[in-house]
């Protein structure tokens, strides 16, 4: 239950949304789309590690 993870994900989300707006206003739609995709992939990589630890913990605790 570490709160740093939430901070990290929310920070990436806010950064991506700001970058998206700036790039869209200056007329670079493709780069805005790529930024969104990159942010999503980074966040997914973080969360997938956590889900992996959750599953391995459940496996060891419940002897699955």
């Amino acid at each position: 239950m570490n709160i740093d993870l939430l901070f990290k994900i929310a920070g990436i989300g806010i950064l991506v949304s700001v970058l998206n707006q700036v790039l869209t206003k200056s007329g670079r739609e493709e780069q805005a789309m790529l930024t969104t995709l990159t942010g999503l992939i980074i966040v997914l990589m973080i969360v997938i590690n956590e889900i992996g630890t959750l599953f391995s913990t459940v496996r060891t605790v419940f002897k699955l």
Partner: protein
């Protein structure tokens, strides 16, 4: 003071999710998944002590240990299935959630077949 930490964690996660929800719905969903994983991880690591105690009790009472293992496995499967189902519902895919729940029930029943057959055997020996 784990309770206060838990509630604070949840409220903080809700604040962050509400902030992000208007701009980026996908990252808000992932944030809620991360919060759920954190909370579940906390409760399951606490649960291991309870399971150890129950294991000890079962060992002392002389009940067949395989049955307890089956019950434990069913509990773990239902926790994981519930976790996945809630993620599906949060993402707005209730159809996938229903099928996941059904698959979990089938897995649980197929896992508890030895229990049912043992029950039927003991009943037939009584009759």
């Amino acid at each position: 003071m784990d309770v206060i930490r838990l509630v604070g964690f949840s409220i903080f996660a809700i604040f962050l999710i509400l902030t992000l929800k208007e701009q980026r719905k996908d990252i808000a969903l992932i944030l809620s998944i991360a919060a759920g994983v954190g909370l579940l991880l906390f409760s399951i690591t606490k649960m291991s002590a309870i399971i150890e105690m129950l294991d000890d009790l079962i060992l002392k009472s002389g009940i067949n240990k395989e049955f307890f293992t089956i019950i434990l496995k069913v509990t773990g499967i239902s926790y994981i299935i519930e976790f996945g189902k809630n993620i599906c519902i949060d993402a707005g895919e209730s159809g996938v959630a229903t099928k996941l729940e059904m698959a979990g029930k089938v897995i649980i029943i197929s896992l508890s077949l030895p229990l049912i057959s043992a029950l039927v055997n003991s009943l037939s020996s009584i009759i």
